[in-house]
């Protein structure tokens, strides 16, 4: 089965962020805070990955 690299990155970020939401720091006890933490983690995963990809772009050829 073939997956695109971007799709795999999104799937990885989504799944790991959901787990991180459950393992949120002790200060975040309510469901709303945990969901917010998971969404923030997901956004950081994607944002940092795309940012690093652009930083590496000049060295790709």
């Amino acid at each position: 089965m073939h997956f695109s690299h971007f799709l795999m990155m999104v799937a990885f970020a989504l799944l790991v962020s959901a787990a991180l939401g459950c393992l949120a720091p002790p200060g975040r006890r309510t469901s709303r805070e945990r969901i917010k933490y998971a969404v923030w983690s997901f956004a950081l995963f994607l944002g940092i990955a795309v940012g690093v990809a652009w930083l590496m772009y000049p060295f790709s050829r």
């Binding site: 997956f3 990885f12 790991v16 959901a18 787990a19 393992l23």
Partner: protein
């Protein structure tokens, strides 16, 4: 002789605080073992339905995606230290490590990038399950709510 309300309100005769919930420290290792074997089952035993379902879906999603991408599942005995670390990470995914051969009947294919990503997915499934085991253990031991 009965204790009157006046006597109860006196400083020396105040009612003892309500009994706390019984400690469940003794079940913590069993909860951790269950959580390792079947991801999410540790939280399920503790009545944490949401976390149990989330951890099961996350670990199974990572592991099955890794298997479908033909990621490598490391064997127990490896000459390479990284292979040993890979085995430890993979083995933490519990039942999915045992069932890996059902999904990967033709074996891994890490000659393409997709297979290499699959290897990371399988390892990540084990690491996430390890975190869930520790979380379930801490809840069962009473050190986390």
């Amino acid at each position: 002789m009965t204790v009157t309300e006046t006597q109860v309100n006196e400083p020396g005769l105040q009612e003892s605080p309500p009994p706390q919930a019984p400690k469940r420290h003794y079940i913590a290792p069993f909860v951790a073992l269950a959580a390792w074997i079947l991801p999410g089952s540790g939280h399920l035993l503790l009545g944490r339905w949401g976390r149990a379902l989330t951890f099961f879906l996350v670990v199974s999603g990572l592991a099955i995606t890794g298997f479908l991408a033909k990621g490598q599942v490391f064997p127990p005995h490896s000459d390479d230290p990284f292979g040993t670390l890979g085995f430890l990470a993979d083995a933490c995914s519990g039942v999915f490590f045992v069932l890996a051969h059902l999904f990967e009947k033709t074996g891994p294919d890490v000659s393409r990038a997709t297979g290499d990503y699959g290897t990371r997915f399988v390892a990540a499934a084990g690491i996430v399950n390890l975190l869930s085991v520790l979380d379930a253990f801490r809840i069962a031991a009473g050190s986390k709510t």
